[in-house]
């Protein structure tokens, strides 16, 4: 007799748990407003990434086409896998001295692991992370980027002079 009672108790307990599960999924079926999917290509105009999002390394240029990179190569030394190559050239300055200046700043987007060490150690804050994330290209050559724009020059640091 006990076995029969146990049989039915188990049966009804099992059915009750199944119905509880169905209640949860049924709730979501009748509440389509709780869908959080973003319709990506249509919402590109209003899409705003977070400020600190690590999208791509860029070198900001101001309105005079000037950047702050002095070609010290500290970022190239710190990069773990060689995604940065800093090519510098010797330029003769007005007072006759030879100074090292940035020629080409090569950044290989295909190798970058977005660890952030280059941005952190730069003494002049010359490179920052931008928020662009649409990096897909058909030609692999396009992933090797030159960060300094053609015709740009170094923005000299203004020396503060005491006026006595």
């Amino acid at each position: 007799m006990n076995a029969i009672i146990d049989y039915f108790k188990e049966l009804f307990k099992g059915i009750k748990t199944l119905l509880t599960g169905m209640k949860v999924t049924g709730y979501y079926f009748v509440h389509p407003k709780s869908i959080i999917t973003q319709q990506y290509p249509e919402n590109r105009k209003t899409l705003k990434m977070f400020d600190r999002f690590k999208g791509e390394v860029t070198m900001p240029h101001d309105e005079n086409n000037q950047h702050k990179c002095t070609a010290c190569s500290i970022c190239e030394i710190n990069c773990p896998n060689g995604s940065i190559e800093v090519i510098s050239k010797q330029v003769e300055k007005a007072d006759g001295k030879m100074k090292k200046e940035l020629d080409v700043y090569i950044y290989k987007l295909s190798m970058c692991t977005f660890c952030g060490l280059c941005v952190k150690v730069c003494p002049q804050d010359a490179i920052i992370f931008s928020q662009g994330f649409e990096h897909a290209v058909f030609n692999k050559e396009k992933l090797i980027k030159t960060l300094n724009k053609p015709g740009s020059s170094l923005k000299e640091k203004v020396k503060v002079v005491e006026v006595s």
Partner: protein
């Protein structure tokens, strides 16, 4: 069951070998199981790993200590922050640097958020392995706010590299505290739904109760740590027994069960999600003010000797061993990965049960394959 387990070289009559190959919808990554079956019963399971070996330990021999951090992300990528913390703690303890309190609190909060996100992903994949295809989407939906929190503060959703020896790369974003508090309220309402949908379900209980036993002696001798080991009674929670960062300041339970079957491994992880919420709640209002990093030299050189640091990753004990000869690169870096030890016990657990049980057992072990192969 003992007489059904064979060694690898003899083939019985009516036995055939099936390959749950590296490309398979349910082995969570590239892992190959060579399963020998008799009818529907599993006689022997042989895992073959190494399909995603990238030579991380060898690469570490040419990198400085700040550069090793970004590689540890990519091993067990679901507990990325906790892996980073291990290397940073090793360097800080070796050089005997005192990090500010603020750093300890923030590291602990981010670790617990990582653990929560990792357990959510495990839960959704476990449901999907067993056939309840909706759980996948509920788990991922609840994980999105955590990834938003990470993205706002650290800049990346999954592979953060936010830790650095001496502290953090950046201070937390001003919105961090509010977002975390909102999330705790939101998730406390959603977690009972997980119980209603899957834990209490009679079909799940039938499939996971009394399946895949792992006794306490076996857990200790195979080195199965984490929630899988704690479900067998192995009290191995490093947060309790060797506390680091801010874990000695919070009050939480260590989840221990003694039965050691698949259902209790499942339950241990769900209970751990509740405990993680409790820990975050206790810490989030009390973050002390201070600096976000200690002063460190730009080139870090560890004194000569061997160092080992262990942390509690979401899957078990993650250990970093570094042998240094006094230079700025380590001479040898070895990572003790929790998934490798967990996987080694699978033959013991699965032999004698059916194929469907093999899927349930390997799902309850919560394997992440890149951690096995490094």
């Amino acid at each position: 069951m003992e007489d059904l387990i064979l060694d690898n070289n003899t083939i019985q009559e009516e036995e055939y070998i099936i390959n749950m190959g590296p490309q398979h919808p349910s082995t969570h990554g590239v892992l190959r199981f060579k399963v020998s079956l008799q009818g529907e019963t599993v006689l022997n399971v042989q895992p073959h790993c190494g399909y995603i070996h990238r030579g991380i330990e060898k690469m570490c021999e040419k990198l400085t200590y700040q550069q090793i951090i970004h590689l540890t992300d990519r091993m067990d990528y679901l507990s990325a922050h906790i892996n980073n913390e291990a290397v940073c703690l090793l360097v800080e303890n070796a050089l005997q640097i005192e990090v500010p309190e603020r750093v300890k609190y923030i590291r602990t909060i981010l670790s617990e958020l990582t653990r929560l996100a990792s357990h959510q992903l495990w839960w959704c994949a476990f449901g999907m392995d067993l056939g309840a295809l909706t759980t996948y989407f509920y788990g991922l939906r609840d994980r999105e706010p955590i990834l938003d929190i990470f993205e706002e503060t650290t800049g990346a959703r999954l592979l953060q590299s936010f830790n650095t020896p001496g502290g953090l790369m950046n201070d937390i974003h001003p919105n961090f505290i509010k977002r975390v508090k909102d999330y705790i309220v939101y998730f406390r309402k959603k977690l009972p739904e997980y119980d209603e949908l899957l834990t209490g379900n009679v079909i799940l209980q039938e499939r996971t109760n009394d399946v895949g036993f792992l006794t306490l002696e076996d857990a200790i001798s195979y080195g199965v740590t984490g929630p899988s080991g704690r479900a067998s009674g192995f009290a191995c929670d490093i947060r309790k027994h060797h506390p680091y960062s801010a874990y000695d300041k919070v009050d939480f339970k260590e989840i221990l069960y003694t039965k050691g079957d698949t259902f209790h491994r499942y339950k241990a992880r769900v209970e751990e999600m509740w405990e993680s919420l409790k820990i975050i709640e206790q810490l989030i209002d009390n973050i002390p003010d201070g600096d976000y990093t200690a002063k460190m030299k730009p080139i870090i050189k560890l004194p000569e000797g061997e160092y080992y640091q262990r942390v509690e990753a979401a899957r078990g004990e993650f250990g970093v061993y570094i042998l240094s000869k006094g230079e700025k690169y380590p001479y040898r870096a070895k990572f003790r990965s929790p998934n490798f030890s967990n996987l080694s016990a699978i033959n013991k657990m699965a032999a004698g049960y059916k194929i469907a049980d093999l899927v349930a057992i390997s799902g309850s072990l919560d394997l992440v394959i890149p951690d096995i192969d490094r």
